[in-house]
């Protein structure tokens, strides 16, 4: 009987330690998707002109993060906006 307890205990402790490590890792390696979105929108001219092919700047920023749009697509923002977006994305 104590062998069953010993086995259960060993596996419990082992899985608990690894769960802690994974929890710590998931926090440390958290992909900060949302905060990048906010920063990109801050940089955009926010005219919601739709020249980039997206209804508004928020949608355009989201597309950038998903890699569906290129930095230079924001025609109004032009070069320096594209540059700023590149900085945020590479951060």
């Amino acid at each position: 009987m104590n062998r069953i307890l010993a086995a259960a205990l060993v596996m419990a402790i082992l899985s608990f330690i690894f769960a802690l490590i994974l929890a710590w890792a998931s926090k440390k390696f958290k992909i900060v998707e949302s905060s990048k979105l906010v920063e990109i929108v801050k940089v955009l001219p926010k005219q919601n002109c739709g020249k980039c092919g997206f209804p508004n700047c928020g949608a355009f920023a989201k597309a950038i993060i998903e890699g569906k749009a290129k930095y230079g697509d924001c025609v109004v923002g032009g070069e320096e906006v594209a540059e700023k977006i590149k900085e945020i994305m590479d951060m």
Binding site: R3, I4, A6, A7, A8, V10, M11, A12, L14, S15, F16, F18, A19, L20, L22, A23, S26, K27
Partner: protein, 176 residues
């Protein structure tokens, strides 16, 4: 925080459940497995060196995991058998070596346990490979390995040569 807690608990529950299941199965099957092993060993002992009864004794030879003395009907010793482990290709090969103490030769050898690749390494169990060790004393040094299973057959050959020679020397010095 509670999300990672949920992960930890799921992992723990599954680990504990699997550990408990394994322990229960182990408790139930362990005695039976041991019985099977003992049965298998006795048959193997008879095959390697037929005798009336066997008596296990401690032999301080390096790779003699277990060793047995063989006695005939009127209780004098006819030989001894040694179980020696040999590291094979991907598993430990347990070799039983029977030695006739009078003629100081190897009576026969048998592979008790191994996990070598079936069809390749497992061919060390074939009679023609094992046959070459029969009635061999110290003088015969070269045995031929099996093509395609060099590591496994060489492991057996080395183990037989080293262990048998060492024991035969001990017999000559009258230590056994």
């Amino acid at each position: 925080m509670n999300e990672t807690l949920k992960l930890a608990i799921t992992l723990m529950v599954i680990s504990v459940f699997s550990a408990a299941a394994l322990a229960v199965v182990y408790e139930k099957t362990y005695p039976i497995i041991q019985a099977n092993k003992v049965g298998k060993l006795n048959n193997a002992l008879k095959e390697v060196l037929p005798a009336e009864h066997y008596e296990e004794f401690k032999l301080d030879v390096v790779n003699a995991e277990r060793s047995f003395k063989a006695f005939d009907k009127d209780d004098n010793q006819t030989g001894l058998i040694v179980l020696s482990p040999a590291p094979g290709f991907q598993s430990v090969i347990k070799v039983l070596i029977g030695i006739d103490t009078k003629t100081k030769t190897v009576t026969n050898i048998k592979i008790l346990e191994h996990l070598e690749t079936p069809g390749l390494g497992s061919r060390i169990e074939e009679p023609d490979f094992l046959g070459q060790f029969k009635q061999q004393g110290l003088e015969k040094q070269d045995f031929d390995a099996i093509t395609g299973a060099t590591i496994s057959s060489k492991a057996v050959i080395d183990s037989v040569k080293e262990t048998a020679n060492e024991i035969i020397k001990l017999i000559e010095e009258g230590k056994i």
